[in-house]
């Protein structure tokens, strides 16, 4: 009787263990494949020849010429590809997606929807500390962060890092300058929901300035 119970317990634990590891493996494979595929799509888009102005004009309807007005950027759908973030010194390289829901953060770095788009203000990006932003634990002042998007490549230099509470949303405030704010959980080695957030603030620099480093 006792042996029978032990056998059932052993089988149950085996089942639970296999299920948990299966979920983890599936999730890892999904994010790896997603990164591979989205990187390919991004590379193809970045290497595609630009559409000529003449071609663009023939596409338009006859003599219709819309007046140039300042168009606000279209809000992107959650999960749509924005670009790629690279921090060469700490080995971070991941595609950036719109949104910070579970799916987006599982598959890549998420762009915080309330923040600006690259090049126009304070861009907020968030990712898991145990996956894409693991390298942030080694980041230092003056490290160069490269953000490749379809609108262009933006270079940022790290100004400071800070550990804040989850409610300290002022780090995402727009100060009118082109900045990049990276958000991840802190402490880096912590099982479960980490109580704090690690913030990296970087200022946009031009390409020449970035090369000097």
């Amino acid at each position: 009787m006792k042996r029978s119970r032990l056998r059932w317990l052993e089988r149950a634990l085996l089942l639970v263990g296999t299920l948990c590891l299966g979920i983890w493996a599936w999730s890892w494979l999904d994010s790896t494949y997603f990164q591979y595929r989205e990187n390919q799509i991004l590379d193809e888009a970045l290497n595609a020849p630009p559409k000529s102005t003449a071609a663009a004009e023939t596409d338009s309807l006859g003599s219709f010429k819309p007046q140039p007005v300042a168009m606000p950027p279209k809000p992107l759908e959650d999960g749509s590809l924005i670009g790629r973030i690279e921090i060469p010194r700490v080995g971070v390289s991941a595609v950036v997606l719109e949104g910070v829901d579970n799916k987006a953060l599982r598959r890549g770095v998420g762009h915080i929807p309330e923040t600006a788009r690259p090049g126009v203000g304070n861009v907020g990006l968030a990712a898991h500390r145990d996956s894409f932003f693991r390298g942030l634990k080694d980041i230092r002042k003056n490290d160069i962060i490269r953000l490749q998007t379809l609108e262009g490549t933006f270079q940022y230099r790290v100004e400071w890092t800070e550990i804040v509470k989850p409610e300290d949303t002022e780090v995402l405030a727009d100060n009118g300058t082109s900045e990049l704010t990276l958000v991840t959980c802190y402490p880096f080695y912590y099982v479960g929901s980490a109580p704090k957030r690690f913030i990296v603030r970087a200022q946009q620099v031009d390409e020449g300035e970035a090369r000097v480093e």
């Binding site: 042996r3 032990l6 056998r7 317990l9 052993e10 089988r11 634990l13 085996l14 639970v16 263990g17 296999t18 299920l19 948990c20 590891l21 299966g22 979920i23 983890w24 999730s27 890892w28 219709f64 819309p66 007046q67 007005v69 300042a70 168009m71 606000p72 279209k74 809000p75 910070v100 953060l105 599982r106 998420g110 915080i112 929807p113 309330e114 968030a126 990712a127 898991h128 500390r129 145990d130 996956s131 932003f133 804040v164 989850p166 409610e167 300290d168 949303t169 780090v171 995402l172 958000v183 991840t184 959980c185 912590y190 099982v191 479960g192 929901s193 980490a194 957030r197």
Partner: protein, 206 residues
């Protein structure tokens, strides 16, 4: 008896559709009484029988105005709507006195300078009155609907307040960047370890 049964059945058959039409299970919009534009009814709802697509504004904002409008307005609207295949021009003069309350949706995302979308207006209006002038000209273009709208209006005076609320709310905390996957993986490893420990224990005591 047969007659009674038959009469009951006929009454049930006749009454059932009427009861269904009144019930909450009926989610169909009321049918149009008249079609004022191709694909559109006089109550601005799409004709259920029409195959034309009705454009959906991409917006995400709510405009509310409460105020008093007095004066006359000359409005000229020229629009091309690719999604609806509608082209049209309308020019008119209206005189308004009274109180209007407008609740609607502004399309601020795709179009610029022009508020488009669905508006509903309730209030009291009469056709006499005019004082003061204010001219507003707005030109905009919309990517998704390929609209070009021009609106010119002359109004008397306006007093009231308007407020626009964007549905994209700013969250009050930084994103949750803790993944459950490491916890799941650790739980799985512990479960497997426990299973093997139990097996070893059972073998030793066999």
């Amino acid at each position: 008896m047969k007659r009674l049964t038959l009469a009951t059945a006929v009454m049930a058959i006749v009454a059932a559709p009427a009861l269904f039409a009144q019930s909450t299970l009926n989610t169909n919009a009321p049918g149009p009484s008249q079609e004022t534009k191709p694909g559109q009814t006089n109550n601005n709802l799409q004709n259920p029988g029409s195959t034309m697509q009705q454009g959906t504004p991409n917006q995400n904002g709510t405009m509310q105005e409460h105020g008093t409008v007095e004066g006359s307005a000359n409005e000229s609207v020229t629009g091309t709507n690719d999604m609806n295949n509608q082209n049209g021009t309308s020019t008119g003069t209206t005189g308004t006195t009274g109180t209007t309350e407008t609740t609607g949706t502004m399309n601020n995302t795709d179009s610029t300078g022009t508020a488009t979308g669905t508006t509903g207006t309730t209030g009291t209006m009469s056709n006499d009155t005019t004082t003061g002038t204010t001219t507003t000209t707005t030109t905009g273009s919309s990517d998704s609907m390929n609209n070009t709208d021009t609106t010119t209006g002359t109004t008397g005076s306006y007093s009231g307040s308007s407020s626009a609320t964007d549905t994209t709310t700013t969250s009050d905390s930084l994103p949750q960047t803790a993944s459950d996957l490491p916890t799941v993986a650790i739980a799985g490893l512990l479960a497997l370890f426990a299973a093997f420990a139990i097996r070893t224990y059972a073998k030793r005591n066999a």
